[in-house]
């Protein structure tokens, strides 16, 4: 169903990376992951993933900044971005969309829901 599509995952929490990676790999996606924003941006530029799932609060560049940087580069501008965040205030959500995110998922998150949102975002490409 996923045809080996590539997902970039960035979160500084190894447990979350393990949980998301497992669910996406089970569904047939190839997952590349990073523990910080700068590495995520580098991986996006090198591997051109079909989707990025980004944590908002990461050391160095946060998820908003990574999203904005992806949008600013013509090579990565079309990569759909889903923000994975514990920050649920309306202002934070608005900030994410303003930076160019396509969707956001609240932490604690449902891995089932995350997979559905990933499938929908990748399918829209």
């Amino acid at each position: 169903m996923s045809d080996g599509q590539r997902i970039l995952l960035a979160d500084d929490d190894p447990d979350i990376r393990a949980l998301v990676r497992y669910r996406l790999q089970k569904a047939g996606y190839e997952v590349i992951d990073a523990g910080d924003g700068q590495t995520a941006l580098t991986l996006a530029q090198e591997h051109h993933p079909d989707l990025a799932v980004l944590d908002v609060m990461m050391p160095g560049m946060d998820g908003f900044q990574v999203t904005a940087a992806l949008r600013a580069d013509s090579k990565t501008a079309s990569i759909p971005v889903i923000l994975l965040t514990a920050r649920v205030h309306a202002a934070d959500v608005e900030r994410g969309f303003a930076a160019g995110a396509d969707d956001y998922i609240r932490k604690p998150f449902s891995p089932q829901e995350l997979l559905l949102r990933v499938q929908r975002a990748v399918g829209r490409r």
Binding site: L19, P108, S110
Partner: protein, 334 residues
């Protein structure tokens, strides 16, 4: 001389002994950590399969393996919701992890009881509710606080009343009780609504603060009535809650509260008017700019929310410091 030499030798020997024992301790701890990490690595595929609700048949039989698996799943349980959380609760209950922590909750050592109370919250098993409510009576404050946090996560409506009682008689502090009730969410509303009419001022104030975050339009009359509470703290909390509720029926009442005799209430009412966003209140807010410092500042913030352009314009014509502060902030955002 001999005495000095003997003393020096003794001190040196004791120092060396301390260094050697510290090194030995460090090696033991490092080895235990390496073993734990290695066990985690081995058990991670199993743990991830359990989170996904996949059938597994190789759950470790040895206590240390079970302990590592339970610790890993407890960490995962903090991160997931929905079906995955349900799978984990089922696992914790069926494989005795909840029973182990309930047993630890009876330990003589406070740190063990607190750790168990905390872990039970991550496991979120309804089986733990009664024991956690009992732990709100623990003689050790860290156990009581951990139990309150966990009751918020277990998510049983009945716990709301117990948490409020524990706050009322001093077993919990306001932040711990409030956080647990917020975690319970709307199911805490019936108990919180009753507490908004408590005879104890601190309980009333907490309940009113919580209503701002948890309540819907049906709680509006309760908050409106609290604007005439004998306690200024409660009146201020009701103002803030009405602003958070966002029901514009409160506008007229809040406008009256901007003339309360206590500055804190006036400031809270002005702030709430800004949140409600009715532009017809702008002129009334501007008249508060010559009031006490807190009220004037809150009025300027509220005015800037209602009509940013007019605030910038007025700041250029008047020397009011609060208007200027808001104008500078708005220009900085532009």
């Amino acid at each position: 001389m001999n005495v000095i030499q003997a003393t020096a030798t003794a001190v040196l020997s004791l120092g060396l002994l301390a260094v050697v024992s510290l090194m030995a301790r460090r090696i033991v701890v490092s080895n235990a950590e390496i073993k734990r990490r290695s066990a985690e690595q081995q058990l991670q595929p199993l743990a991830l399969a359990l989170v996904s609700g996949e059938p597994v048949d190789d759950v470790p039989g040895d206590p240390s393996g079970q302990q590592v698996l339970a610790a890993m799943l407890t960490r995962y349980a903090r991160q997931v919701s929905g079906e995955s959380r349900e799978h984990l609760i089922e696992f914790f209950e069926q494989h005795g992890a909840v029973a182990v922590q309930l047993d630890q909750l009876k330990s003589k050592q406070a740190w063990r009881r607190a750790t168990a109370a905390y872990a039970l919250g991550d496991m979120r098993s309804p089986q733990a509710r009664s024991a956690l409510e009992h732990a709100l009576d623990d003689r050790d404050v860290s156990v009581r606080f951990a139990a309150a946090r966990s009751l918020g996560r277990v998510g049983d409506q009945r716990s709301a009343l117990e948490l409020l009682r524990a706050y009322e008689d001093g077993r919990l502090v306001v932040s711990v009780c409030g956080e647990a009730l917020i975690q319970l969410g709307v199911i805490a509303l019936p108990a919180v609504s009753v507490a908004a009419s408590s005879e104890t001022v601190t309980v009333r104030r907490l309940a009113l603060q919580l209503l701002g975050q948890l309540a819907g339009p049906s709680e509006w009359p309760l908050l409106a009535k609290s604007l005439t509470d004998p306690s200024a703290d409660c009146r201020a909390a009701a103002c803030v809650a009405l602003g958070e509720l966002g029901d514009d029926r409160a506008t007229r009442l809040l406008a009256q509260s901007t003339h309360d005799r206590i500055p804190k209430v006036r400031a809270s009412a002005a702030e709430a008017l800004g949140r409600l966003g009715d532009p017809s209140q702008l002129d009334a807010l501007l008249t508060l700019l010559s009031s006490d410092f807190d009220t004037a500042r809150a009025a300027a913030v509220a005015a800037a929310r209602l009509d940013p352009e007019r605030v910038v314009q007025l700041a250029s014509l008047h020397s009011n410091p609060h208007l200027r502060e808001q104008a500078d902030r708005l220009k900085g955002q532009a």
